[in-house]
Symmetry: C2
Subunit: 338 residues, 2 copies
DNA sequence: TTTATTTACGCAATCGTTCCCGGAAAAATC
DNA sequence: GATTTTTCCGGGAACGATTGCGTAAATAAA
């Protein structure tokens, strides 16, 4: 069953006016008399008239909707980011269409095409951990399609970017572990070609360097699926535990990896922080309730969503092609258990 | 900057055909010659032509998109449900537009109007804990707008509903606490007018009854904001602790309430399960990592999303008004720490 | 050869809205 | 009283696609 919404035509007919007059009256045009305007407005209210956004989209050639692609919404960081995105977008009258890549490149590409075909006006994306081929994104971008990267950046594509100071966050976390007295800090991280992976691992290495600690590269374990598969993390932890000189602490570079490590360590009956130190990136609000009181690097997720959306809308509403792109870098904070 | 997508007109012009011929060729109509079809198809591929969904929506009077309103996506239960919704909707070619009420009635109404004005074809909703006035929803429903309720049901509106066996889930959880030896089980629950609140409290009471335990109604504390405000939960816990005959265990009826209780008990330096037993509804995947190994009632969230979406699409695609409405009841499971 | 039937395509309306253009009536100016 | 200027409104095209109807040419039947 379909319910029929009132149209401008209905109002016109009922009042014996033309559609153009009604349209103008509703938009408060100066060339419509006050009396007619009132008449139209009253009748519109009575019919509960709302302009059909689809018809508008067709005419204006824009849908006033933006797409968001994240790996998973069931992830504190991303759901918080989305809240930030929504807050800005809705205020400006934009609809947000959220899609998940589930860390799969194929799903990401499909989603990309889908969103593009649904005529969204712009895209906010944090690429999947499996994304190595940038062609689909580049194609869209070269078409002049507005894109803003957040969190997981793609440097090869020239557009606005919003991220945190991943290097510093990782540096701080690693330094924190060292200050706790740990000597051999291993690292469990995401897919190697992600920007956040490179930056965070660099921060981790820099902190070790600064402390005069040199560790084998084998202490850095990459999880291609970014923790989506629990066993991938478990394997990585196991590998660390089986290193000839076993690490005494682990730095995990993402939400899923941090909790994944905890899970794996628990399974291996390794106590945190006694048997193994652990710290990592996480925006979960349950951290303080975990069985081991770990220190985490928290990202300003909500703010990141807001900033990214503002940049995107700016891009969308710009009259001429934007050539000057910004890279906003937000700061992380180290949260220690109270 | 705008990128211009190819239209049917572009193809027609380039090939010296009419738009109708091109349209029919693309839709593989029998009244177009094979030669012309091939010509059109080739050229369409070359121009990377994709039908404009907005133009189609305008003509077909449907947008092939559905709206979802939940209180919060940063909630394991809802994000899992959304995954289920997405899986079914996308497969059927529908876009999912997610909105959050943040447990605010005003936000819910605004969102409702917004979604309705964005011409979605149907709505999946789990009402906010603050929803007492059903007029906006009823208005939409009486208009013939397809709505399916999930999780938090509104019985007064006759349509499809999907929920879990809340009574049984609550009954099992409470019974579990009693079997552990707890005698005075308090309850921290959601806003009193929510369906899930009524059903879960009823299950809780029934379990006590069955065990021959009669407790004062003051042991049931209602949180109007459903745990959105941490202090609301903290206050409720405090009130329980200050009862003249203090309870020795708490049954919490939702995700946020369960973790909220844990947080409050931790603050009050009450050990779980020694000083106070705790169990509750939760779909968080971090439960097993919490400092206290609590038993939780888990809902089949993903499945719930799938079922609800199937019902909604069925409603949307039905030729005539549907009069027979289904109420699907799924089963919960009690997860005890290993 | 004439008529009937296909085949293969074009014309134009439609969806709801905006906006350019043109024009009648009223008001202002001379 | 005649002209110019406003004021106010309607006609119709446009956005991109679909579709009922009409029709020329090609083919088949008579």
């Amino acid at each position: 069953m379909k319910y029929k919404a009132a149209t401008i035509k209905d109002i016109a007919q009922a009042l014996g006016l033309s559609t153009s007059t009604v349209s103008r009256a509703l938009r408060d045009s100066h060339e419509i008399s006050a009396a007619t305007k009132q008449l139209v407005l009253d009748h519109a209210a009575q019919l509960n008239y709302h302009p059909n956004p689809i018809a508008l989209s067709l005419k204006e050639k824009k849908s006033r909707s933006i797409g968001v692609i994240v790996s998973e919404i069931a992830n504190s960081f991303f759901s918080q980011t989305i809240n930030g995105i929504e807050s800005v977008a809705n205020e400006k009258g934009y609809t947000v269409i959220i899609s998940q890549s589930h860390e799969s490149f194929e799903k990401e590409v499909r989603t990309l095409q889908y969103l593009a075909s649904r005529s969204i006006d712009g895209l906010l994306i944090s690429v999947s951990s499996a994304t190595k081929d940038l062609l689909p994104l580049k194609a869209l971008h070269q078409y002049g399609f507005p894109i803003v990267f957040f969190d997981r950046i793609v440097e090869e594509i020239a557009t606005h970017q919003v991220r945190v100071d991943n290097f510093q966050g990782a540096y701080n976390a690693t330094t924190h572990l060292l200050q706790q007295g740990y000597k051999r800090v291993g690292c469990i991280t995401n897919s190697a070609h992600l920007s956040i992976t490179r930056e965070r691992v660099a921060g981790y290495v820099a902190a070790l360097d600064k402390a005069g600690i040199r560790l084998p590269a084998s202490l850095v374990k990459y999880c291609f699926h970014g923790g989506m598969l629990q066993e991938e993390v478990a394997d990585a932890v196991q590998e660390l535990l089986q290193e000839k000189k076993r690490p005494d602490a682990i730095f995990a570079t993402s939400d899923k990896l941090t909790t994944g490590c905890m899970r794996a360590l628990k399974k291996a009956k390794m106590a945190i922080p006694e048997d193994m130190g652990l710290t990592g990136f996480s925006n979960s609000d349950l951290i303080e309730l975990l069985h081991a009181p770990i220190t985490v690097v928290r990202q300003p997720a909500f703010e990141m969503g807001q900033v990214a959306t503002e940049l995107l809308l700016q891009l969308i509403e710009s009259k001429r092609p934007v050539k000057d792109f910004e890279t906003k870098v937000l700061q992380t904070s180290l949260i220690t258990p109270s």
